[in-house]
């Protein structure tokens, strides 16, 4: 069965460019999470969707970061006017249910963003 997929796997952007990162969660999964993983660090929470509703965006570092999941399936993380400090691996994870309970998250391979 298909797991979580992300595209592109690698992205190089010049400082100031806008980028869009895509996440295809496991079919039918209710919850979708985005994380930012800097080099040598653990994943840091960015935002959470339950179906199409963005219930938590407290981890987004600035208003240059925007995420959407309009039909409750595929999600896009957009970063406007990229800066060098945005360079990181962006991980997407999905979970079959909502936040209640002990559901695990299934992670995609990540998109490695390098801003020059």
């Amino acid at each position: 069965g298909a797991g979580v997929s992300q595209s592109p796997r690698y992205k190089v952007a010049k400082r100031g460019q806008d980028v869009a990162l895509r996440c295809d969660p496991i079919s039918g999964h209710v919850s979708l999470f985005w994380y930012q993983q800097a080099l040598g660090q653990g994943p840091e929470f960015l935002t959470y969707f339950q179906n199409e509703a963005q219930l938590d965006k407290s981890g987004l570092p600035s208003d240059r970061f925007f995420a959407e999941r309009p039909e409750g399936s595929v999600s896009t993380l957009k970063i406007q006017r990229t800066q060098q400090e945005d360079s990181a691996v962006y991980l997407c994870a999905s979970s079959p249910k909502g936040l209640a309970g002990h559901n695990e998250q299934f992670f995609g391979p990540g998109t490695r963003l390098t801003v020059l």
Partner: protein, 110 residues
Amino acid sequence: AQSVTQLDSHVSVSEGTPVLLRCNYSSSYSPSLFWYVQHPNKGLQLLLKYTSAATLVKGINGFEAEFKKSETSFHLTKPSAHMSDAAEYFCATRGNQFYFGTGTSLTVIP
């Protein structure tokens, strides 16, 4: 507030010897705790999770972890390291979101 602390940023063991990766947690109530493994250029893979059903949790690839409330610990162990175990390991807990530790890099020496 919930958090986890991984006590070692790097652990090195010889092949065939035991592995111990340490994780302490902070939680105001009974936590959900997880161990994930990350191989280079791969996504995080769940090794095991604690959900209060049993304090000793067995996971995949021979790994297990014991929840010790008195020590607020959830250390990951394996009796005998294999070369394929070399990877980055993350302890995590969840509340309204997942909170990950900073990771422990495991090196296995042949």
